[in-house]
């Protein structure tokens, strides 16, 4: 198995991340430019009907992107997309995975489609997405 000549079913992507902390959310607020208070201000989150602050979806997608580019050079990624299937809570320990689902040719290039998931420690799917990579 390799990222250059994968087979359908190969798990190319696998990475685990440390638990989501309030500190991480504060750092991500600043580092990402996403200053939506719902992720860092518990008073705002409660007013909006949530029990506590929760992760930016894009922090979780950044982790998934990190897992992806650990396995695949960024210059080979043609597209990267995800659905935010569930809110990622404080304390979540995330595992990102990607499996080859299709090999095909497009624009004169051999490509692979990867099904990507991010799950928490209970196995709940937080992100369900895909990437198209050039081989």
């Amino acid at each position: 198995m390799s990222a250059e000549s994968p087979s359908i079913g190969d798990r190319l992507v696998h990475k685990e991340f440390p638990p989501i902390t309030r500190h991480r959310l504060a750092l991500y607020c600043g580092a990402s430019g996403d200053h939506n208070p719902i992720h860092v201000d518990i008073d705002f989150a409660k007013q909006a009907g949530f029990p506590d602050v929760f992760s930016h979806g894009m922090l979780v997608m950044a982790y998934l992107g990190q897992a992806l580019t650990d396995a695949v050079a960024p210059s080979r990624i043609r597209s990267f997309s995800t659905r935010f299937a569930a809110i990622t809570q404080l304390g979540a320990k995330l595992t990102c995975e990607g499996t080859v689902t299709e090999l095909f040719e497009d624009k004169g290039e051999r490509r692979a489609r990867l099904a990507l998931t991010t799950k928490d420690q209970t196995g709940e799917i937080k992100l369900a997405g895909e990437a198209i990579i050039a081989l």
């Binding site: 990402s32 430019g33 208070p37 007013q47 990190q66 650990d70």
Partner: protein, 151 residues
């Protein structure tokens, strides 16, 4: 409530420079140690002109340098507290690296009611070009608006 009249609405373009210090803050925040994002030589060996940006960083650059990061919500009269991120897509056409200046041009491409009006999905697509006019990427963001129940 946001409706079909929003489709086609365009928002103020945002121009952002890929600065190494801000990029490092992002990399440190997500625990990213891949040298292609930090080391010019490693990036050049991989075909970039300078350190590359991670796959989701374009989304951040647009928010960081926008005069009003949530302009589209205000313009469409959507309350920030009622919004969740539903989907996100990136299509990459050309490399983006430290030192580049990229311009984002967002516009609304669809508005869809869900669950009998309890939710509205708004899709904003954003074309990204660099300082040479090269079309480097397209972003598509779907926001989920949790509509207030009628009283």
């Amino acid at each position: 409530m946001v409706d079909q009249s929003a489709v086609g609405r365009a928002f103020t373009p945002v121009t952002a420079r890929v600065e190494p210090g801000r990029l490092r803050f992002f990399l440190d925040t997500i625990g990213e140690t891949n040298p292609i994002y930090r080391d010019e030589k490693a990036a050049q060996a991989a075909g970039y002109g300078a350190a590359a940006v991670p796959p989701t960083y374009l989304f951040c650059l647009e928010m960081m340098d926008a005069a009003e990061p949530f302009e589209f919500l205000r313009a469409l009269d959507i309350d920030l507290a009622r919004v969740l991120h539903g989907e996100q897509r990136f299509d990459y056409h050309a490399p983006v690296a430290v030192g580049d200046t990229v311009t984002f041009k967002p516009h609304v491409t669809s508005v869809t009611e869900k669950k009998g009006g309890a939710m509205t999905l708004v899709v904003v697509e954003t074309e990204v070009t660099n300082q040479h006019g090269v079309h480097v990427a397209d972003l598509s963001r779907t926001v989920v608006v949790r509509n207030a129940r009628p009283s």
